[in-house]
């Protein structure tokens, strides 16, 4: 197996799982050294060929696998030889960190600039203007809406924003939201 050290990182495992789903995970979690065919993988891992192919194409779409095609001269059949490109994972996760930072910055601004009200029964949050439109009563259950403090939310976002800026060496996000 290749890329063992990368695959020990629980965040990278989570990332692959998010991309390929539980059925594709046996394929994504055990990248072989060098080239491999979908049939070889299916046999080795005891999986349906379709599940293997699905996982490989998801990895391909995310630039984490590549293939080359070989035509059998007698039968005319095409064979796909796959290579796992997991050395790209760190750069991709770095990009994800930039995107998360951009979203956090925008969301923090929104949380700071708005007042919120909560229906404690249904657990639904309303902006001040919405709450006023409903006469400070929950449109679902009719109970009175309570003013909601979001300091803790804002502070925890600030903490993560600082940590991301520090880790990425940027002053603010460089990605458009």
């Amino acid at each position: 197996m290749a890329f063992e050290e990368l695959l020990e990182d629980p965040v990278i495992q989570k990332y692959l799982h998010e991309l390929v789903g539980p059925k594709g995970m046996p394929v994504a979690a055990a990248p072989p050294d060098g080239e491999v065919t979908d049939e070889e993988l299916a046999e080795e891992l005891g999986l349906e060929l379709n599940d293997v192919r699905r996982a490989l194409f998801i990895l391909y779409e995310n630039d984490l696998a590549s293939y080359r095609r070989l035509r059998d001269e007698d039968s005319g059949w095409l064979t796909y030889l796959w290579t796992f490109e997991y050395d790209k994972i760190p750069e991709q996760l770095e990009e994800e960190m930039h995107r998360l930072l951009a979203a956090l910055e925008e969301r923090r601004q929104y949380e700071r600039n708005h007042e919120f009200y909560l229906c404690e029964t249904d657990g639904i949050r309303f902006e001040f203007a919405e709450a006023m439109d409903f006469g400070f009563e929950c449109p679902q259950c009719g109970s009175e809406l309570q003013s909601l403090e979001n300091t803790r939310l804002v502070e925890s976002m600030e903490g993560r924003i600082d940590a991301l800026r520090d880790e990425l060496n940027v002053e603010s996000a460089e990605v458009e939201v």
Binding site: P90, R99, L100, N169
Partner: protein, 116 residues
């Protein structure tokens, strides 16, 4: 991965240099050798070696009026756990759009505030 294999082959000076770049998160080559307390020539050789092994990034830049390089750690050294809130990964992974007001991101932010 290959990076670790090559890290084991580093000389003491190269290891110290790599450590310095990782600690600072980024440093100009003109400060690098001074901080490391080696000659500029030796500093440059260390940088060449680390850069060839793919352990650092080296980008041309102008600093205090002269051409130099800015040295940074590679993505591999980043703390990817900053993508997590509790046991939830950033909801933007695998999505083309970044929606800072989506339900999934609201859930992520709640996890950050109340589960960590």
């Amino acid at each position: 991965m290959s990076a670790t294999a090559s890290e084991e082959e580093l000389s003491e000076d190269e290891l110290a240099g790599l450590e310095l770049i990782r600690e600072t998160g980024g440093i100009h080559q003109s400060n690098f050798w001074k901080e490391l307390d080696v000659s500029s020539r030796k500093g440059s050789r260390i940088v060449d070696s680390l850069s060839e092994k793919g352990l650092i990034n080296r980008d041309e830049t102008i600093y205090e009026g002269h051409n130099t390089y800015y040295l940074t750690p590679t993505a591999q050294d980043l703390d990817f756990s900053l993508l997590m809130a509790g046991d939830m990964l950033s909801p933007f992974v695998g999505d083309e759009e970044i929606d800072a007001h989506s339900d999934a991101f609201s859930q992520w932010v709640m996890n950050l505030a109340y589960e960590e």
